[in-house]
């Protein structure tokens, strides 16, 4: 049943899509039916695969660097009062900036290649990672800190061996958000200026009325984002299995 349900949902949506095309009789360059998209995906698999590789690499690199930077900032903020005074305003300001508006600048500065897209993804996930993790680091249960104090724990040990593991569940929710939005960053970067990637392929196909190819790229992008999210979710659940999920509300 665990596998059957999502398959059933996906099948239902595809059927609905097909019916919509049949019922309205829209031309394929407006809305191609799912079978046509599947045939295109099959026929152009090499092309789609090559562009998928680019986008996947951008997402993974963005996720990696964004997590390292975000988690690092949060640790720094938690460790030092002076860092809080200086870095916290920057963190908040970074969120006030419309990150998408920066995309043209990033392409200008970092070029048409992969770097500007990675930077875009990093910028998008930096804030959710840093803010959730910092929040977790600030909310260490008082009793544990008191125990550590009576034990004469060293300050660094308190941060790394107590506050950090205690904040991992909070970091995990930040990482889940990051996994969900990182593909957006990469694709927006590609739209602004690039020569490969699924976002590029979509624009390219759109301009040539190859709507079926556009849908094929979109489909693969969804698949990519979904599998990324589930992979991250499972890895996180495994990493913090000491905090089992409480029963789902029925």
């Amino acid at each position: 049943m665990r596998l059957a349900r999502p398959l059933l949902i996906a099948g239902g949506l595809l059927a609905l899509w097909h019916l919509l095309v049949l019922a309205t009789g829209v031309p394929p360059y407006i809305l191609p039916d799912p079978l046509r998209v599947a045939r295109t995906l099959w026929a152009r698999a090499d092309l789609v695969a090559a562009h998928t590789a680019t986008t996947a690499l951008e997402i993974l690199l963005g996720l990696f660097f964004g997590t390292v930077l975000g988690a690092g900032s949060a640790l720094l903020l938690a460790a030092s009062r002076r860092a809080r005074a200086w870095v916290l305003p920057v963190l908040v300001a970074s969120q006030a900036l419309p990150v998408f508006a920066l995309a043209p600048l990033l392409v200008l500065w970092l070029g048409y290649g992969i770097a500007s897209k990675v930077a875009m993804a990093v910028l998008i996930i930096y804030f959710p990672v840093a803010s959730t993790f910092f929040d977790g680091l600030r909310r260490t249960p008082e009793g544990w800190l008191e125990l550590a104090r009576v034990m004469d724990a060293r300050p660094l040990a308190i941060l790394l061996r107590l506050r950090l593991p205690a904040a991992l569940p909070a970091l995990a929710s930040g990482l889940r958000v990051a996994a969900a939005v990182a593909p957006i960053g990469a694709v927006v970067g590609e739209w602004v200026g690039s020569s490969s990637g699924l976002g590029y392929l979509m624009l390219h196909a759109n301009a040539r009325m190859q709507t079926d190819l556009l849908f094929a790229a979109l489909f693969v992008l969804c698949l990519l984002a979904l599998s990324l999210w589930f992979a991250v979710d499972r890895a996180l659940a495994r990493a913090i299995r000491w905090q089992p999920e409480t029963a789902h509300p029925t």
Partner: protein
């Protein structure tokens, strides 16, 4: 039982007494303590007895140095930090560490050298055997029942191997048999140390304490110390002890002073 292999007798250094003075401490706007002086004798068990909410835990936290507003002086004039082990009412086990790692977490947090850590892990294993958790060394705390978690927290406190040990109802979640056994074990392992035990059970106080102090009222009044003769852990079935328990209960229920009862 071989106590020397597990912990150093008396905690290595002679266990100091503590004098605690609180001028005034407010709790929720009401005066909890006023001009309170508590003398804890060195190398002996002092049991703090009193109704729930009277301020026993707060007093213990003041002794642990966790709250401001009190002066603590050790009888030997040396600083107290680094010489205290504290067991809170809740077990405060770290859920991400195995039971064994929880027992030695103090040494980890202090950055103990590898050799000491290995030695403490070995001691922790044998201590776990003694308290009936031998099969749970690698388990996470979530897999333990409330009573088992409390036993693990007690073991962690013992393993800290400090001359001063402050315990807040350390046996409250245990079944009668286990409680009896662990009281014996704690009395044996902590002999010669300065122990302050918070409890609401008169019998527990009488089994384990050299001295029992009753707290009551607001601001808190301290009865003069009630000295109990003989060596703890005392036999729970001792008629003299049971008679004393009956009088302590009557005292807690609002009876007359008991200072000269012993």
């Amino acid at each position: 039982m071989p106590r020397a292999e597990l912990l150093r007798p008396g905690g290595g250094t002679p266990a100091p007494g503590i004098r605690l003075e609180v001028e005034r401490l407010l709790f929720d706007g009401a005066e909890l303590f006023r001009d309170l002086v508590l003398e804890i004798p060195g190398g002996r068990w002092t049991c703090l007895l009193g109704p729930s909410g009277v301020g026993k835990s707060t007093l213990l936290r003041l002794l642990a140095g966790l709250l401001p507003g009190a002066a603590r002086v050790a009888s030997d004039g040396l600083p107290l930090s680094g010489r205290i082990a504290w067991m809170a009412q809740s077990d405060l086990l770290f859920p991400w560490l195995s039971v064994l790692d929880n027992l030695v977490v103090g040494y980890r947090l202090r950055g103990a050298p590898r050799a000491l850590l290995a030695e403490k892990r070995a001691q922790a294993r044998s201590l776990l055997e003694k308290i009936g958790l031998g099969g749970y060394a690698e388990a996470l705390p979530a897999a333990l029942s409330g009573g088992m978690r409390q036993r693990a927290a007690l073991a962690r406190t013992l393993l800290e191997d400090r001359p001063v040990v402050l315990m807040d109802e350390p046996f409250s979640a245990l079944d009668a048999i286990t409680r009896h056994r662990l009281q014996d074990l704690a009395a044996e392992l902590l002999a010669g140390r300065t122990v302050v035990l918070v409890t609401h059970s008169p019998l527990e106080a009488l089994r384990l304490g050299h001295e029992v102090r009753i707290l009551e009222g607001r601001p808190v009044r301290l009865d003069p110390p009630l000295q109990i003769g003989g060596r703890p852990p005392r036999e729970a079935a001792d008629p003299a002890l049971l008679a004393l328990e009956a009088r302590l209960l009557a005292r807690l229920a609002g009876g007359d002073a008991l200072a000269e009862a012993a």
